[in-house]
Symmetry: C2
Subunit: 92 residues, 2 copies
DNA sequence: TTGATATTTAGATAATTATCTAAATTCAGC
DNA sequence: GCTGAATTTAGATAATTATCTAAATATCAA
């Protein structure tokens, strides 16, 4: 996992909302774009950043491209965060 | 916790290295700056962003200002991440 | 109060990023 | 192969961010 890419991807409200939408179910690029007041190319750009950060996966189904969550990076994020949180315990 | 501020603060390698340094022990602004090839004002800027994101606290001690980790935001980050990771379980 | 040290603030510049419009690509159905 | 729909790519522009130098502030020690 490239932490920098991960955090950069997460540091944008549009992209975090996309992740939230994908929690419920997989969606096509178009269905995702419909949820925002932003052009499709802009959403495509955000999806690409999420994909590069391995936060989502994409899979073509005919004319549509379905996006889905890839939860492994969230696991890594939890591990990374724990090293700081656990530190508090050690110091006590 | 303001997620956006948190992720923006974490989306920079210099700032993440500062957090790593503070895991071991509290450090003054100067001691932190010594670990980087960057001017003190630049490090001060990064410290300020970390402080605004409540990832660190500062406390003056005479001429020095000590910085320390504030682990509560890391806890929040873990909770936030879990909502995505746990989703995988639900779908199975 | 003066001089030295630690740190931050101000202001400028360069690099990065988000967004748009227009054009290109990919696929389905005829 | 052509047409239409879904999506991405390219290229431009505006906003944001990282970094620097110079100046300001705060504290200590004499």
């Amino acid at each position: 996992m490239k932490l920098n890419q991960t955090f950069k991807a997460l540091a944008d409200p549009t992209r975090r909302k996309i992740l939230d939408l994908l929690k419920d179910k997989d969606l096509t690029a178009g269905e995702i774009a419909d949820q925002f007041q932003m052009t499709k190319p802009s959403i495509s750009h955000h999806l690409n950043l999420l994909k590069q950060a391995e936060l989502v996966r994409d899979e073509r189904a005919g004319q549509h491209i379905y996006y889905s969550l890839n939860t492994t990076v969230f696991q890594d994020l939890i591990k990374w965060s724990l090293q700081f949180y656990e530190e508090e315990e050690r110091k006590k």
